[in-house]
Symmetry: C2
Subunit: 411 residues, 2 copies
């Protein structure tokens, strides 16, 4: 088994001034391409710490991705440390000077003198191109281990990994490559609940399941061989059957799916919020398709919300949904009511009628988490309506208290 | 110098299924308490990988915080690996069984049998209490290095570090402890711009500056000895003078400060958004004080926004600000206009009159970043008004195109 590690460098990562999103991204990217990381480490940007860690990794691993420390300033020491550990001289790579000069020329600027440092690499390095920055990557063998040195800027790092390092690894280790991944986005169940349902599945050789949970979604991933279309489709449809109640989208996040649905159905939408306090509008409108099909959206003042709450909660939210739709002159309106004693209401108003529901949280959530759950639940009601599915269903994390549909003829 | 490392465990961290926020948090927490990390590493939860890494760390470091792998299931292997590396037996710690039984009793449940595993620790372990979970921490010496094993659940981990591990380290290494930190939150300059301004400062022995940048803020931190009040106040006021234009709050995030200002001045607020599409309401209303003093807030439909945009942009946003304030019957209204050709408008309406401004972005931002910058800029206008500062100022990342104040008498 190929042993692959990542080394992140920099005091700012070590002391938590920035979260190492490159590391999480690379871990996922490599895993999904069939190159799982065996280890990750982080050291500051002192040369002694870098040299010690590079040395240790060179004896214990087959492939290491080193991230950061390739900039033009004096505290960028990755190339120098690599030269010391590999016992090579730092030499000038004139082809990279030429490329940097071209980089600055297209920006109508002259290359500053201190950028020369970025073309000084250990003598036996193989340059890895960076089409969008001045820090070239490089590949270098030290003690039987292949090191790939990469820039810390996330956009440059990700592009270099995707376009050059992954293909290079595929060529060097063809037996490793070749995983394909399908994504099922679910909402309304727990990870253990999802796990239990899928535990019964007998996966064929070479297939495995992964879970990634970020409130309020759980992403289920099906890994397996590439170009194995028939088997993958059969497995996908089995997973779909087991999780149908919870699946909100496949191979695209829920919000993108919702945008496509609104677009396809040519429906316009308005939004009124109480409990979600702007979370729902902000989230939905961050999708371009939804934003284009959206009329006004508004967040009610807590005072007005309190006044409305005195009445029967379903009557109150039906009134709000109807008024919003009419006032904004849209096909649909989606509304969240106030939270009272752990209960909240949501409603959808459509040409056919109005769907209102009251739910109760089954456990304690922070206020921010409550907004996310209620907002996503409201969006799921819209999704179910647009997909032609029954609008009413049960969700985890909540208990249905009451549901009521009033057809337009009875309004 | 004390060499401190952190070891995170778990396949889900390694493969990027979850971002290791515990690591960033610990890095910051330890740095600010005078115990900077020298190294961080992550391995999966196979026993071989854990044993290898624990062994390596025991020879190269003085203190290691191990995070994760203390749960009741078979893939939680931290205690077992620790026992192997330290050549100790795993023995039952009956005092922890008693505590777990009490934990379940207060929840009207019986302790499941598999939780017994969480009380099986290497023989010479010193238990570290976990008042909110079933995974106790433990402290153990291996080859001259002190290991602190901690649970992966963030709330349990953070509480254990704050309440028990940091105090224990302070007692064990009194010469290390004793940093104090002041925070200056800035908006509207770049990190290099801030750095240049502060480079001139001559800091006394024992003081240092740190920067943490998360769009759109840059947090400046002043580290120095504890209880050195006079010197700290003098330095703080020097930093304030250098950065006054950019400082939005001190020792509390901008949004909290804004909430306190609104509360202190007893003002009510309404919001209307175009370019920020709900970002501003969502952000402001996530603060309880702001939410309580806020009337309605609304996001205009892009169609209406386009209609309004045809007129002179300042006239259009003044009209919107006035109408919003009047309709919502609040003291103040804060408004973001549409973005057109890279220019955007913001306005504040108050009893004294209306302030309107047009800005232009000086470089390219993603749509989400644009919302954040415009929204924060709008909030800063409100902050300046409530603090009695001149409402108009210049910001980095933007160029002022036009500004106009109309007193109420002229409206």
């Amino acid at each position: 088994m190929l042993k692959i590690a990542m080394l992140s460098t920099g005091e700012e990562v070590l002391h938590g001034d920035i979260v190492d999103t490159n590391a999480a991204w690379l871990g996922r990217e490599f895993f999904e391409h069939g190159f799982p990381l065996a280890k990750r480490s982080t050291v500051g940007d002192t040369k002694a710490a870098l040299v010690e860690e590079l040395m240790m990794l060179s004896f214990n691993t087959d492939v290491v991705i080193v991230n950061g420390g390739l900039g033009p300033t004096t505290d960028d020491l990755s190339a120098e440390a690599a030269a010391e550990v590999s016992e090579q001289e730092l030499i000038l790579f004139p082809e990279w000077v030429t490329q940097m000069e071209a980089f600055f020329a297209t920006r109508q600027r002259q290359m500053p003198q201190n950028n020369i440092k970025q073309a000084m690499l250990p003598a036996k390095s193989i340059i890895i191109d960076n089409p969008i920055g001045t820090a070239c990557g490089f590949k270098l063998q030290i003690n039987d281990c292949w090191f790939y040195f990469t820039p810390g800027v996330p956009s440059e790092f990700k592009r270099m990994v995707k376009e050059q390092i992954v293909p290079d690894l595929r060529k060097s280790y063809p037996e490793q490559a070749g995983l394909e991944c399908s994504y099922f986005y679910t909402f309304g169940s727990s990870e253990s609940g999802i796990g239990e349902k899928l535990d019964k599945l007998q996966l064929p050789e070479g297939y495995s399941l992964g879970y990634r949970s970020y409130l309020p979604f759980i992403e289920v991933k099906l890994f397996g061989p590439k170009r194995d279309t028939e088997k993958r489709m059969k497995l996908s449809s089995m997973i779909y059957q087991h999780l149908e109640r919870y699946i909100v989208s496949i191979d695209e996040p829920m919000l993108d799916h919702l945008g496509h649905l609104l677009e396809d159905k040519g429906q316009s939408l308005s939004i009124a919020e109480q409990s979600t306090k702007g979370w729902l509008s902000h989230w939905l409108l961050s999708n371009v398709d939804v934003a284009q099909r959206c009329g006004h959206s508004w967040v009610l003042s807590p005072k007005v919300a309190a006044d409305l709450g005195v009445q029967d909660p379903l009557a109150s939210i039906f009134a709000l949904a109807g008024a919003t739709k009419e006032k904004c002159n849209t096909d649909l309106s989606l509304v969240t009511g106030p939270i009272k004693d752990g209960e909240f209401t949501v409603a959808l108003s459509a040409p056919e009628g109005e769907w209102g529901q009251i739910f109760r949280f089954t456990r304690q959530y922070t206020i921010e988490d409550q907004k996310q759950i209620i907002g996503t639940l409201a969006a799921d009601i819209l999704r179910r309506y647009l997909s032609g599915k029954p609008v009413f269903t049960e969700y985890g994390a909540t208990l249905k208290v009451k549901e009521l549909f009033i057809p337009t003829s009875a309004l």
